[in-house]
Symmetry: C2
Subunit: 256 residues, 2 copies
C-alpha cells in the first residue's frame, strides 16, 4: 500500500516543516518588533494586541505568540494579565562612533555608580605588560568594578593601568567617576584612541552571579586598549556587559 506508506512518512515531515516555517516567521517578526522595542517605537510601552499584530504583519496569531515568547525570553517584553504585552527592557545604547566612558554615554538615562571590588598593584603578566608597553613583571594597578545604572548591574570591568598614573587613581572618586575622565584629569591630556574587540559570550556561573543575571546569560564582552593623545597605552580593560542591558550602536563607512 504505497499510498498509505507515503502518508505515514509525509505527515510527520509536513508537521516538522510547518513548525520550522512558523519558527522562521516568528524570528523574522521578533527581529522587527525588537527594533521597535529598543527604539521606543511603542508609545507608552504597550504593544498592540496580538490580533492587531497578526493583521499588521500578515502572520498567524500563533506566529505572533511565538515571536512575543522570543522577546520575553530576552527580557525585552512582559505579558501582564489584563493589560497585554508591555516593554520592560532596560537596554541602553553605547556609542561605537566615539570613545566614551559609561557615565558620559548614559548621562541622560541616569546615574552610573561603580562598586570597586578589588583595587591594588599586581605584577603585570606578559600579555598586560606587552600591551601597556612595560617590562613584564612591572607593577600595574588592577581595578575590578561592578558598574551600575540607577542601581542595576550593567557590567563587570577588569582594568589594568600603568602605576605612575594608576597610583593617582587610588585616592580618586572611582565610585562615581569614569576612569576615562580621571585619566584625562591626571595626565592633563585628552585620550586619543582605543583598539576594541567585541564578542558575545555565555557568562560563566560566577560572572553571572556578580552581574545578577541567570547562568549562561549572553554577555557582550569588550576588550579595549585605550591610548592617550600622545599614543601611550594607559588603560587595558576587559568588560562584560549584560547582553540584556547594553547594545552598541554606530556608523560604518564603505571607504575610509
Amino acid at each position: 500500500m504505497p499510498a498509505e506508506r507515503t502518508r505515514e512518512h509525509t505527515a510527520p515531515l509536513a508537521a516538522a516543516r510547518r513548525r520550522r516555517l512558523r519558527a522562521d516567521r516568528a524570528r523574522q517578526l521578533a527581529d522587527l518588533l525588537r527594533h521597535l522595542v529598543l527604539t521606543g517605537g511603542f508609545p507608552g510601552g504597550a504593544l498592540p494586541h496580538e490580533d492587531i499584530l497578526a493583521a499588521e504583519y500578515e502572520v498567524s496569531r500563533n506566529t505572533v505568540r511565538h515571536a512575543l515568547d522570543l522577546l520575553r525570553a530576552e527580557q525585552l517584553v512582559e505579558r501582564l494579565p489584563g493589560v497585554g504585552t508591555v516593554v520592560v527592557a532596560e537596554k541602553y545604547s553605547h556609542g561605537l562612533d566615539r570613545l566614551m566612558g559609561l557615565a558620559e554615554t548614559l548621562r541622560e538615562h541616569g546615574r552610573v555608580t561603580n562598586e570597586v571590588r578589588t583595587m591594588g598593584p599586581v605584577a603585570a603578566p606578559a600579555p598586560v605588560a606587552e600591551r601597556l608597553r612595560l617590562p613584564t613583571g612591572t607593577d600595574v594597578l588592577y581595578v575590578e568594578r561592578l558598574r551600575k545604572l540607577n542601581g542595576l548591574p550593567l557590567s563587570l570591568d577588569l582594568t589594568y593601568l600603568p602605576l605612575d598614573i594608576g597610583s593617582e587613581l587610588i585616592g580618586a572618586d572611582l565610585e562615581n567617576t569614569d576612569v576615562f575622565r580621571l585619566l584625562e584629569q591626571i595626565t592633563g591630556q585628552p585620550l586619543g584612541h582605543a583598539e576594541i574587540t567585541l564578542e558575545a559570550v555565555n557568562a560563566d556561573a560566577h560572572s553571572a552571579t556578580v552581574l545578577q543575571a541567570p547562568r549562561g546569560t549572553a554577555v557582550l564582552m569588550l576588550e579595549r586598549l585605550t591610548h592617550l593623545c600622545d599614543g601611550r597605552p594607559v588603560d587595558l580593560e576587559f568588560i562584560r556587559f549584560r547582553g540584556d542591558r547594553i547594545a552598541m550602536s554606530g556608523l560604518l563607512r564603505r571607504s575610509l
Copy 2:
C-alpha cells in the same frame, strides 16, 4: 563559648570567600589567555603546561585549571590526553572600521558559502518600509541565508531589499557572492555607509539548531541598515553571528 561559635560561622564564610577569590582570579587569567588564544599568541596552538602557567601568572594550579575550564566552556581550547591544552577556536575577526561583506572580510581564512533558505517578495511591514523609505505594504525582497566559512555555520542573515534592486538579485549567484558586492554591481555605485547595532543575545532553540550550536548559545546580533553612496537605504539586515566564531574589532577615537 563565643570562640567556637565564631569559628562555626567564619569557617563557611572563609571558604566562600576563598571560592569567590579563586573565581575572580580565574576570570582575570582567562581574559588574558583568551586574548592570546584569539590573536595566535600560542605558537603551534599548544598552551604551556599548567605548572608553567601557574608560575608565569603567579597563581595557583587550581586557578589555572579553573581558567582553562572557562575557556573550554567557550570552546576556545580543548584538553587532549597526553598532549595538554590546545587551541581549537575557529574564531574570526570582522572589522568594525569599514563596511565590508563577510566574504571580503574573511577572504584570507577560506571560502564563504551561503545557503539560501528563503527568497521571495513580501509586503514590507511598517518597520521595514520606514527604514527603506518605502510606503508600508510595498513589495520588498526577503532573503534568508545561512552563511558558512569552509562549511562551518557562521551566521543566519535575514535581509530586506527594495524590489527594484532585489529583483536583479534573484538570478544572481547568491550562494557564492556577498550581497554587498551584488548591490554595487547592480546599482553601479559604491555603498556609502551603514547604521549598525550590536547586541549579545542567547539564541532561541530554533536559531541555535539552524546555526548548529547549543541551545542558548550566545550570538552576536547585528542589525545593519546599509545605504548607497547617494544616501538611499537599500539593505536592511538582521544577522545572528555564532558568538564562538566571530569577534568584531575596530578602533575608536576620542574626538570625531
